[in-house]
């Protein structure tokens, strides 16, 4: 729902002539931004800047630390503890040990942090922050842009993606956005306008603009209830982001990052490349088709419609519509009903 409350207040002030606030456009949305890389990620802040410049009211609720790979994890009934001062966001913002577990960036009152998982932070945004800022739920929730693509099978382990799932199941229009660039870039106002983070933000703003422009179509909502979008941005040359086409894809199973257990992490090329070159057990990541030292072959998806396979071509921004519940398709449901006929109706 557009920000009628804000719009009408702004217009009233303008009409009274107290001072001339520019009225927000009628298409302005209340947008909550979440992520899993933390509140100081450049991608997140660049998107906030671009969306605000487009006239939207934007608030951020994100983890204070980098929480990549936490998936949908939630620490039930565990109080949010204070900061250690070593979190990614704490280091960047100068927050000391013992600072509150839920707080605000002193430099931007619209950026809140939670010392918790991505989903915990995003739920804070919806259940607490949005109500305080807008008096209700956001019109749109965007998770990301993530530092690294979230495609196919890895989505189950992605905080960025699981924020999307939670928000869809809250009945909110939502999208997860992930960029191919994996480098952690910390936000700074000195970041040049040509920085990739702004190019990625521009790609997202164009999507939002299109959703707003077509809101009256196909059901009269920003997005159909129960459906969101998983968006991935491919690698692209500097300055080429705005020209990237968008393409509808399917989640599929293909992913460059499939979690796998290694008896020795030193057997994992990715672990070794990351400096974890130790003969100790643990989880690492590998591409589909990889044969693990144990002989297990990771599944490989070669479907041309799978988002990861399109991202690999570096030709388009992928858009995969996502439902919030893992209900099997009718064809699988009927097959199971046939197998279990006689003991279940």
């Amino acid at each position: 729902m557009p920000s009628f409350r804000f719009n009408s207040a702004a217009r009233a002030i303008a009409v009274c002539g107290v001072f001339a606030l520019p009225a927000a456009p009628a298409s302005a949305l209340n947008i909550l931004l979440c992520n899993d890389d933390g509140i100081t990620a450049a991608n997140l802040r660049a998107l906030k800047t671009k969306l605000a410049a487009a006239g939207h009211s934007v608030a951020v609720a994100a983890p204070i630390d980098n929480q990549s790979g936490r998936g949908g994890y939630i620490a039930f009934l565990t109080p949010v503890g204070g900061l250690t001062g070593k979190e990614r966001g704490a280091l960047a913002l100068g927050l000391a040990a013992g600072a509150p577990g839920v707080g605000v960036d002193a430099g931007d009152a619209d950026v809140s942090y939670v010392n918790g998982t991505p989903v915990a932070a995003c739920l804070y945004g919806v259940d607490v922050l949005a109500r305080k800022k807008w008096g209700g739920v956001p019109d749109l929730v965007i998770s990301g842009p993530n530092e690294g693509n979230n495609t196919g099978a890895i989505n189950a382990s992605s905080g960025t993606f699981n924020n999307l799932v939670y928000m869809i199941n809250r009945g909110l229009p939502a999208m997860a956005v992930s960029d191919a660039a994996t480098t952690q870039v910390t936000w700074s106002t000195a970041l040049p306008a040509s920085h990739r983070a702004y190019e990625v933000a521009g790609i997202v703003v164009k999507l939002v603009d299109t959703l707003v422009a077509n809101k009256a179509k196909a059901g009269g909502l920003l997005m159909p209830d129960g459906v969101g979008l998983n968006v991935n941005v491919p690698d692209f040359s500097a300055g080429a982001g705005a020209a990237l086409p968008y393409r509808f894809t399917r989640i599929g199973k293909a992913s460059s990052y499939l979690p796998a257990f290694y008896e020795k992490l030193s057997d994992s090329p990715l672990a070794v490349a990351s400096g974890v070159n130790f003969p100790v057990p643990g989880i690492s990541l590998a591409a589909g088709g990889t044969v693990l030292p144990s002989g297990v072959a990771l599944p490989k998806d070669t479907a041309a419609t799978s988002e990861d396979n399109v991202i690999a071509t570096k030709t388009a921004v992928t858009i995969s519509p996502v439902e919030g519940v893992p209900q099997a398709r009718r064809a699988f449901e009927d097959a199971m009903k046939i197998k279990l006929n006689g003991i279940a109706q």
Binding site: K217, R329, R330, A331, D334, K337, I338, N341, Q345
Partner: protein, 212 residues
């Protein structure tokens, strides 16, 4: 009603039919649809109660529009179309329905021939398991299940890769009993099912997935 009255009414009906020079006995259209060329499309339909659309048209512009709630669920509405005229099943309580389409795209169906369709199948019909076979000549014969399907697949009547179907369901529960006309198709979208059999009996739509 006695015989004379019936005869009189038939005569009046025949006379009325002759007034416009037509002897067409097809029921009056209950829907209006965009006329399409031969092929199979899927997309979004505006104007009806459900919007997930699969559209199958033969070379003469005749065909079927299947509508389901989300494009994945079973079809609950069918428009039997001839050019731009359609007959909606079930009949809409709101009278004439006018369909328009958004974002239609070609649907890639698996080739369906007498050779690859022939075989034994199992399906759920009205919640009951049904065993049946399809013979090389297209004959559908019921198997040993209580719920029985019989009928005919006409491989020569093609609608963008789907083929014509007549199907009778018996012993499958009151809500699905009857004879249906429609289509058989094979699509990756309905895997692991091998076939989708969908038809209408004038008042209801039956949509069955069949597995080998």
């Amino acid at each position: 009603m006695n015989y004379l009255m019936k005869a009189a009414m038939l005569a009046v009906a025949a006379g009325l039919a002759g007034c416009n020079g037509s002897t067409n006995t097809d029921p009056a259209p209950t829907s209006s649809v965009p006329a399409l060329g031969e092929g199979a499309l899927q997309g979004y339909a505006n104007g009806d109660t459900v919007s997930g659309a699969s559209i199958y048209t033969n070379k003469d512009g005749k065909g079927f529009v299947l509508l389901s709630a989300d494009g994945d669920g079973a079809a609950t509405v069918m428009h039997v179309v001839d050019g731009s005229k359609g007959r909606r099943v079930p009949v809409s309580a709101n009278g004439m329905v006018t369909l328009t389409y958004d974002r239609t795209q070609a649907m890639a169906l698996n080739a369906l021939t007498s050779a690859n369709a022939a075989g034994s199948y199992q399906a759920l019909v009205g919640g009951k398991p049904a065993l049946f076979t399809v013979a090389a000549d297209g004959a559908i014969s019921a198997g040993g299940s209580d719920c029985k399907l019989s009928g005919k697949v006409d491989f020569s009547a093609t609608y963008g890769g789907a083929v014509a179907l007549t199907l009778t369901a018996s012993g499958c529960g009151g809500s699905v009993e009857g004879s249906y006309k429609g289509l058989v198709l094979a699509s990756a979208d309905t895997a692991p099912a091998t076939l989708q059999l969908v038809g209408e009996n004038g008042t209801a739509v039956l949509d069955v997935l069949a597995y080998r």
